[in-house]
Symmetry: C2
Subunit: 233 residues, 2 copies
DNA sequence: GTGATGTATAAGTCTGACTTTTTGTGCCGG
DNA sequence: CCGGCACAAAAAGTCAGACTTATACATCAC
């Protein structure tokens, strides 16, 4: 699904990044570049590049005469897609999934409202296409195909909003939806009400009805929150 | 305000990062590590570390036998605080400010609603303190002090939401508020209505009234959107 | 035209020596 | 006993150079 680490430093990151985000090295821990290089059997230059990347994600801080110290969780760049993937792959996956779903519930309705006024004809067409694809695969345990269209749907909405910050959350939403399907409720068919809501959102966007698109999307995200027991049913 | 680049590679980034985000090297441009190293008068190792960081921000892609190519804007990690700062310092500052304000308008109301149910007594106290500080400095061209309290206020709300993704947007909001004060309307005193709204939000959060806190904060963000002519007055 | 082969290129890797900053310590004087 | 100052050790930071590897592109055979 995700491109594995390019080059040696990438493979080091694939191993060290998840270890840090998983709390294997608790905040305040001090690592030394030379030891890490030995442990991963790479040269110091490669190790230094890996540390630089971790530093740019605010996962660690490198200081002279001290070493590489792990920063407190609150300072991590939690919007970095790489960090998100590492955390989703780790132990606090459920917690991460909740945080991201709450974020979705704030962003997606507003994005849908903007999409209603900004979407191009092409995007409207894609939207209805995705919605139809969801309908077509909503019964008979065709969850894989359903998921593909669901992800595409939300991606188009975020892109159509015309706001680059929203657009960049497409990957995040994709991860959340995929994670939910593959780990929570992969047995049953999707909620028919949710499917209907997606179709209606597509209609509202096409009709340019911002208020309606926003409200309908809010209902979709409310459903997502309920699934994770963040809201009472 | 922001920590300048630590070490040589940091100084290279301070120069190269803004150049890329400003479009000085348009997407698709190919740079070569050796040339860059010469240009910045640093060794290849230092240059490589800088490129690695840019790569982790998805600003560039490094491929063998090709060089370092600048990626299209749509792929940049626009949530990276460093990238945000670089862009705010550059030419498309107005555009960036708009995008971020729209993001605020989506996130902050929801965050305020959550804060109403999750804020600790300590946080409630801080909130009223900030609000009072805003009131005290809302007249007589004391914009600097007003700004300090305004930033602190929104930071507390985002932290009190209990959602780590929201909390991490504190820096972004701070940049937006600071940017607005220092470049848009720094002559006149702040809108009295906005000041009142902040006080009322503090009250609502303290009272645990989530719906009211959300609605009031929505009014604040609507005001921010109007200021940038994103919404009609 | 298509496919195999070769080659030049730029990134990737490694090593070792050297520099610089910073922390901690220990000595000395007060 | 304490405060400050100088010194030494430790770890990151920097550099230069040699070597390796992947790959785009051109060339050639069919």
């Amino acid at each position: 699904m995700t491109t594995p680490g390019r080059g040696l430093h990438g493979r080091v990151l694939d191993s060290l990044g998840p270890a840090i985000t998983a709390g294997e090295y608790p905040p305040g821990s001090v690592l030394r570049t030379d030891e890490l290089a030995q442990h991963f059997e790479v040269s110091r230059s490669v190790m230094r590049e890996a540390v630089r990347v971790l530093e740019s994600m605010h996962l660690v801080e490198s200081r002279r005469r001290v070493g590489v110290t792990v920063r407190p969780k609150a300072e991590w760049n939690v919007y970095d897609p790489q960090v998100i993937r590492w955390r989703l792959a780790g132990a606090d996956r459920p917690h991460q999934l909740r945080s991201l779903t709450v974020l979705r519930s704030a962003v997606e309705p507003v994005a849908a409202g903007l999409a209603a006024t900004n979407a191009t004809a092409r995007q409207c067409a894609e939207l209805t296409e995705c919605a139809l694809g969801m309908v077509a695969n909503s019964r008979g345990h065709r969850l894989d195909q359903y998921l593909v269209h669901d992800v595409a749907f939300h991606r188009v909405v975020l892109n159509a909003s015309g706001n680059e910050m929203f657009a960049r959350l497409g990957d995040v939403v994709a991860e959340v939806l995929t994670g939910r399907t593959h780990h929570e409720v992969m047995f049953e068919d999707p909620d028919p009400a949710a499917v209907t809501l997606h179709v209606q959102v597509a209609e509202a966007v096409r009709a340019g009805d911002a208020v309606r698109a926003e409200e309908l999307t809010r209902q979709i995200t409310v459903g997502a929150l309920r699934e994770l027991d963040i809201l009472a049913p």
